[in-house]
Symmetry: C2
Subunit: 152 residues, 2 copies
């Protein structure tokens, strides 16, 4: 895999934010640094990076796929009002894979959890806002950004 500027910038921008942007949102972010980048390149590279395990492609509710610069598996929560998607810093419950396997005879490998609710902003009256309020910078500050524990 070649180290192209486009690929590098896409990854840098995605890792920089805690939001879970769509391909088009990433396109807008990258375009500020590489104005001639194309949307096709964004999609191609996000796919490659996801295959790689460098990032995660999220299959959350809604029409667009979202991408997560944190490749460690973790749960997500989606705001029913504004659509934003946040991480849920709670240890994944690996044990339920076995229970599901017994109940279905599937060989269960993993699971995804998507909580739904109302985010703190929307609780404070900013209701029915369609657009998530732009990309937020990833930080280690303690603004609810509890560290994810390792998978159980």
């Amino acid at each position: 895999m070649r180290n192209t500027e486009q690929r590098r910038v896409i990854l840098e921008e995605l890792v920089k934010v805690v939001s879970h942007p769509t391909a088009v949102e990433i396109y807008e972010m990258v375009r500020k640094r590489l104005p001639r980048v194309s949307l096709g390149t964004i999609y191609r590279n996000l796919e490659i990076l996801a295959q790689n395990g460098t990032i995660q492609k999220l299959e959350v509710a809604g029409t667009q796929k979202r991408f997560d610069g944190n490749a460690t598996r973790h749960y997500h929560v989606r705001c029913l009002s504004c659509g934003r998607v946040d991480d849920v810093p709670v240890p994944p419950i690996a044990a339920i894979n076995d229970a599901a396997g017994e109940a279905t005879n599937y060989d269960v490998l993993w699971h995804h959890v998507e909580f739904e609710g109302i985010c703190p902003r929307c609780q404070k009256g900013r209701e029915k806002v369609a657009q998530p309020g732009g990309a937020e910078v990833r930080s280690n500050a303690n603004e609810g950004a509890v560290r994810l524990s390792t998978e159980v």
Copy 2:
């Protein structure tokens, strides 16, 4: 809401199967009984029935939405090999909503769980089959079809 034949047949066909068909699969099922039905009508009615709470629109991984004639909330498992989606007869863990709420400051209302693994058929060698093996009739037989307990 009017009781049209199309709407009635769509619901009947959906409730009849344990698979979680896509709109196009439902279209094919309904078309056998109402050959002149249109795909637009299928989409419009599935949307109405889901709003209603009569059925569920599932946001599972993949490009197409799937529909579930069982409106009670329950978990699902998806086969990584053939793509089929089955119910997981395990009681939902309502308690984790609170944990997620505390961890994120969201007002968490509910959650969805999607297990992923390999279904019994694919374990037996039928690998890499793209098409789920057709609609299966819903039954109360004990072929793994454990009754779902009520939401906790």
